[in-house]
C-alpha cells in the first residue's frame, strides 16, 4: 500500500516536472525564435510586452489565442479534429520524457531509451495526419500528406545517424551514451571528445533530419504559408492552434536535447579532459550542474537550428524527398558500415 502510494506520488511529481519543463522550454525557445530570427533579418523583434525587450510577448500571444473561439468546421470529423492537437503535443511531451537531465534526474531509465525516444517522436505523425484528414479542407489535407511523407522520409536518416552513436557507445541507454562520451579518447589519444567529432557525418545528418522532423524552414513544406495557408493547422483556431504552436517549440527542445545527449556529451562532458563525473560532487549538485550543462548545449543546438531556419529558403517537395532517399539514407548506411568495421577492428 505504502509503496503504491509513494510510486503514485513520484509519478505525480514527475508529471508536474515534465509539464513544467515542456511549457517553460517552449516559452524560452519560442522567445529565442522570435529574437534570433528578428536579428538575423535586421529587425529587433518584440520590444514592448513585459517592458524588458518584449519578454512577455508570447504570454500575450497565448492569452490572445485563449480568447479566440474554438471553431470546428461543419464538415470536419469532429472528434478526430478535436483530439489531433493533443496527440501532437502528447508525442512531444513523451520525447522530452526520455531525456536525462542529470545523473539521477530522468523520467524513465530504460535499456532501449534511444529506441523509445525515436519511436515516440514519430507518434506525432499520426496526430498530424489526423489533423490534416479531419479538417475537411484541401489545404489541410495537402499539408497533412506532406507532413507525413516528410516525417517518414526523415525518420530513417535520423535513426541511421543515431545507430552510429549506439554502435560506438555499445548501449542504447542514454546515461551510458553520456558516460561513454566523457571517457572517449579521440583516436587513441587521451583527449576526450564527444561523438560529434568521430561521428561528424552522423551529426550532420542528425541536424538535417531533425530540422526536417521539426518541419523547419528549409523543410517547412507541411506549413508552407505561401502555398498551403498553414498546412494541417489551417482550420484550427484558439486553444487548439496554441497546442500546435507549443508542440512546435517543445519538439525543438526535445530534438535539441536529444542531439546534445547523443552527440555533445549530454550533462557530463564540459571540455576535453573535463567531465562532470570527474569532480565527485554530491549527486544533488551533480544533477543541478549537469542540467545546466545540458541546457547550454541545447541552446547551442537550438541556435544552429534557428540559424539554418532563418538562412535557407524552402525546398520543393520533390527535392525534399529526393534529398532524403537518394543522399541522406545511403550516406547513413555507409556511415553505419564504416563505424561497425572500425568498432570491430580498432
Amino acid at each position: 500500500m505504502w509503496d503504491a502510494l509513494q510510486a503514485a506520488d513520484w509519478l505525480a511529481v514527475k508529471l508536474i516536472a515534465l509539464s513544467f519543463i515542456v511549457l517553460t522550454s517552449a516559452y524560452v525557445l519560442g522567445f529565442g525564435f522570435l529574437k534570433i530570427l528578428a536579428h538575423m533579418q535586421h529587425r529587433v523583434g518584440p520590444m514592448e510586452a513585459g517592458r524588458y525587450h518584449g519578454v512577455a510577448q508570447l504570454m500575450a500571444d497565448a492569452l490572445k489565442f485563449m480568447q479566440k473561439e474554438d471553431i470546428v468546421p461543419a464538415k470536419a470529423d469532429r472528434w478526430v479534429f478535436l483530439l489531433a492537437p493533443g496527440l501532437v503535443l502528447g508525442a512531444t511531451i513523451l520525447v522530452t520524457m526520455t531525456i536525462p537531465f542529470g545523473p539521477a534526474w530522468d523520467f524513465v531509465n530504460l535499456d532501449v531509451q534511444v529506441f523509445v525516444a525515436l519511436a515516440v517522436s514519430s507518434l506525432g505523425t499520426v496526430g498530424v495526419l489526423m489533423a490534416g484528414w479531419s479538417s475537411a479542407n484541401k489545404y489541410s489535407l495537402m499539408g497533412g500528406f506532406r507532413a507525413v511523407g516528410q516525417l517518414l522520409a526523415y525518420e530513417l536518416p535520423l535513426v541511421l545517424s543515431v545507430v552510429g552513436v549506439v554502435i560506438m557507445a555499445g548501449s542504447m541507454n542514454l546515461h551510458d551514451i553520456v558516460m561513454a562520451q566523457s571517457g572517449f579518447g579521440l583516436f587513441g589519444t587521451g583527449i576526450t571528445i564527444p561523438y560529434f567529432v568521430p561521428q561528424a557525418v552522423a551529426f550532420g545528418m542528425f541536424l538535417i533530419a531533425a530540422q526536417a522532423e521539426m518541419s523547419q524552414a528549409p523543410f517547412d513544406m507541411p506549413f508552407a504559408e505561401s502555398e498551403l495557408v498553414a498546412g494541417y493547422a489551417t482550420e484550427y483556431s484558439g486553444f487548439r492552434y496554441l497546442f500546435f504552436f507549443l508542440s512546435e517549440f517543445a519538439s525543438n527542445f526535445a530534438m535539441a536535447a536529444l542531439g546534445s545527449v547523443l552527440f555533445l556529451g549530454g550533462y557530463s562532458y564540459v571540455l576535453p579532459g573535463v567531465a562532470l563525473a570527474d569532480f565527485n560532487l554530491p549527486t544533488f549538485w551533480e544533477n543541478f550542474i549537469g542540467a545546466g550543462i545540458l541546457l547550454g548545449k541545447i541552446g547551442l543546438l537550438y541556435f544552429l537550428f534557428m540559424w539554418a531556419r532563418s538562412t535557407y529558403p524552402r525546398l520543393r517537395e520533390d527535392q525534399l524527398q529526393k534529398f532524403a532517399w537518394k543522399y541522406l539514407i545511403p550516406v547513413g548506411l555507409v556511415n553505419i558500415g564504416v563505424t561497425g568495421i572500425l568498432k570491430v577492428v580498432a
Binding site: Q41, H42, S310, T311, Y312
Partner: protein, 178 residues
C-alpha cells in the same frame, strides 16, 4: 480519361551538385550571422524620436504676413486641399492727401492634410514665399476632420521650418537676393 492516360510525366534530372553550390550554403549562413551581429538601426519610435533630414517633407507652414490671398496655391493644388477666403480692406494713404491703399486680409487659410499628397506644388508656386516645408511629422489625429489645419496651426508649423542654409558660394554675383 483518354487525355489523362496520354499525359506523360517526365522527370528532369536535377542540376549536378557543384562545389559553388555547397559554398553558397555557407555564404548564406555567414551573411545571416553577420547581420545578427551587426548594429541594429531600428529606432524605437514612441520612446526615441527619429530625426528627419532638414528638407524632409513633413508639413507645410504658412507665413501669414507674406500671403496676399492670391489663390495661386489653391488653384495649383492637385488635390484641392487648400481653402482660402479673404477680403479687401482700405488703409490710410502713405502720404498726406493720397489715395487710400487697398490690402488683402486673409480670413481663412486651411490645408486639409487628409487630402494633401505632399507634392509641394503650393510651396513651389507661391510668389511671396508664404509657404514652407517643415520636417515635423507628428500630427496624426483620431478624427479625420482634425487634419484640417487652420492658419494659426499652419503659422505654428512655420516656426518649425529649418533655417535657410545660405546661398551657394558665388551666387551673390548672379544677383541673388541677400
Amino acid at each position: 480519361m483518354a487525355d489523362e492516360s496520354e499525359t506523360k510525366i517526365t522527370f528532369r534530372r536535377g542540376a549536378p551538385v557543384k562545389p559553388e553550390k555547397i559554398k553558397g550554403l555557407f555564404t548564406g549562413l555567414a551573411l545571416t550571422l553577420r547581420t545578427m551581429l551587426s548594429k541594429n538601426q531600428v529606432v524605437q519610435y514612441p520612446h526615441e524620436k527619429e530625426v528627419p533630414v532638414p528638407r524632409a517633407r513633413g508639413v507645410i507652414g504658412l507665413n501669414e504676413d507674406n500671403c496676399t490671398a492670391c489663390m495661386l496655391c489653391a488653384r495649383e493644388c492637385p488635390d484641392w486641399c487648400i481653402y482660402i477666403e479673404g477680403h479687401k480692406e482700405k488703409r490710410p494713404p502713405r502720404r498726406e492727401g493720397g489715395k487710400p491703399r487697398t490690402v488683402q486680409i486673409l480670413n481663412r487659410f486651411d490645408i486639409d492634410y487628409g487630402l494633401c499628397m505632399y507634392c509641394g506644388i503650393c510651396v513651389e508656386v507661391c510668389p511671396f514665399d508664404a509657404l514652407h516645408w517643415s520636417p515635423e511629422y507628428e500630427y496624426s489625429e483620431l478624427k479625420v476632420a482634425n487634419l484640417l489645419h487652420d492658419k494659426e496651426r499652419l503659422g505654428h508649423w512655420e516656426t518649425t521650418k529649418p533655417a535657410q542654409p545660405g546661398y551657394e558660394k558665388g551666387s551673390e554675383m548672379k544677383g541673388a537676393k541677400k
